[in-house]
Point group: C2
Chain length 397, copies 2
Amino acid sequence: MWERGLVVSAPGKVIVHGEHAVVHGKVALAVALDLRTFLRLRPGAEGRLRVCLPGVGVQRSWDTSVLRALRGRIAADFEESKSPSLEQLDALREFAGIAAEASGPDSLATLAFLYMCLAISAKYGDVPSVDILVWSELPTGAGLGSSAAYAVCLAAALLMVCGAISCPLQEGDSTARWTEEELTLINSWAFQGERVIHGNPSGVDNAVGTWGGALRYQAGKITPLKRVPTLRILLTNTKVPRSTKVLVAGVKEKILKFPAIMNPVLDSIDAISQECQSVLEEMPTNPSPEYYPVLEEFFDINQHHLNVLGVGHPSLDRLCQVTASHGLHSKLTGAGGGGCAITLLPPDTSPLAVEAAKQDLCACGFECWETKIGAPGVTLHSLSSLNTQVLHMLSQS
Amino acid sequence: MWERGLVVSAPGKVIVHGEHAVVHGKVALAVALDLRTFLRLRPGAEGRLRVCLPGVGVQRSWDTSVLRALRGRIAADFEESKSPSLEQLDALREFAGIAAEASGPDSLATLAFLYMCLAISAKYGDVPSVDILVWSELPTGAGLGSSAAYAVCLAAALLMVCGAISCPLQEGDSTARWTEEELTLINSWAFQGERVIHGNPSGVDNAVGTWGGALRYQAGKITPLKRVPTLRILLTNTKVPRSTKVLVAGVKEKILKFPAIMNPVLDSIDAISQECQSVLEEMPTNPSPEYYPVLEEFFDINQHHLNVLGVGHPSLDRLCQVTASHGLHSKLTGAGGGGCAITLLPPDTSPLAVEAAKQDLCACGFECWETKIGAPGVTLHSLSSLNTQVLHMLSQS
């Protein structure tokens, strides 16, 4: 079926509550963001494997026979449960002409592609001659899980063309999803791709990209939430650059300096995550407008807590003020110190208020998307089911 | 000695940390504010007791013999350890021509004056013919302990003229204070005055007015801090009116609604008060500029916590933003929801920054005083030691 061209998509992610606290053993809630990465899969020239990533300026192709030979040299232990070895990555870098110190998204995306291709084909059989193009609605490097969405799409596509998982799309279907077992396999291979890109990822981003909806993360344990509503939000990127490493270290230092003051703040954030989980799980079975003010209150409280942890920023204060002036509630999401924030749009929000808020946010120099959280996970699409913008972007090679 | 005219002064108070949390059994730190209430005492016309409170529009005088007769009728149990009885207060209202429902500062100040006069003279002997004038640098009803400063001045003056405590000012002294034992007596009578005015006061305000410096308050127990530094601050009144009762009820409601989220915030505030106490007690023996950034960090964290408790206000956000733009750190003090805030002025603050901050705060419509905390408690002054503004205000009757 895929021979006629198919598209795989996976969502980005945002942390709703628990960023930073999660580093100290507390609960975090991550949700799928309906800004998606799309991977177009179509038959390629015989004996060629081609990958085109216009967003990061990558356009490469290789002879499948050459890849097979390379795999033979480095395939000793390709296993989805093992981390990519330094030797394997060095060999792939050398093969692709990527410098040892190169860490740009183009280099990492190429490396992840090659690694996943070889490892998956070593286990499940050759990757046929295909042409892969990836385009994303997600900005890269903004903490929105763009690399995981890429790795999830890649894992699903490669596993499907190798026959390790089915092609669930039936004639006439516009979209389809895989079985739970297949999703587990997609997720574990996407995690390998994330490891190539990030070294030591938590696994949260690829799990959200795979299962969608929302999940709870605590002390290395990932638990998908049973049912979650789809909630409208504004996602705003302040475009203020930040270093997650520096911010995480700053929080740790504050906790060590004033443990009696800071530890209760982590406890309060933990309670917010847990209460928010309950609210999200109740919403689908018992729809009521009364949940929204509660979710908004949690946003406000956690935004104050994150300021206490020292990961706020004047740009985020400004953002919260702007949205508050339109009756909307916001909090930073992810590392903070700039970066992105989410603003809840309850169902009764007037379209005029949303438009005005977006305009004011753009006037601050921020980038703003009206989107949803609780989006579906990795999905297979027929070409005809995609909207024209996505189709246009996927026809650029 | 007082026959030639003396002045008693007492400071106002601000809460440095622990407002609202104190209602839930946590520690609060209250400090003496160097905005003072002054009471001028001088011999009056024979057989007349005269009181003049220009700030609240009171100017009354009574025959001492009439007061003695009134005392005889209602004096059954004037005791500093007992609360003023409803019957006594009704009799005083009737005597002074104050309506039962009158609760303006003029009525309450007159009532407190009469109560303290009669109760103190019942216990220690007649109040002689004196002329009392009270003027204050403190705004009334702003949560700055103006009623307590009034009650402390009145207790000290009345106890002194009745001979219950000494007149500690020696010829040539500019100021003098009372012994610890005498201060305890002044404080207990000032507390009675506060009871007349407030019904059920905590006793913190009169304790600060009496002892000055700083004190710790928790679950009804008041403990003066050993040594505290005098710290420069800006005190700013947003002039946004608020109801303490409504704000306290709102906090309670939030705690009941989200105990797991809110109780840790109270714990964190409690820890801030205790850490701040340690810092304040260390500062006089080990002066170092390094304490100031810590005190500023405590201000910032607690301001966020008070916002979480729901007692912030846009005017207070604005105030914090304005002072932050001059590198200064602020927090609300007292009930919040508007009202007053304090801004720390570390010793290295440039006078230009202070001036600029004051101007910007005034431009917001706020009232702003450059003053000190950790001020001395109730003090006796010779007239010649007072500055001209105070002397001028005290010569207006």
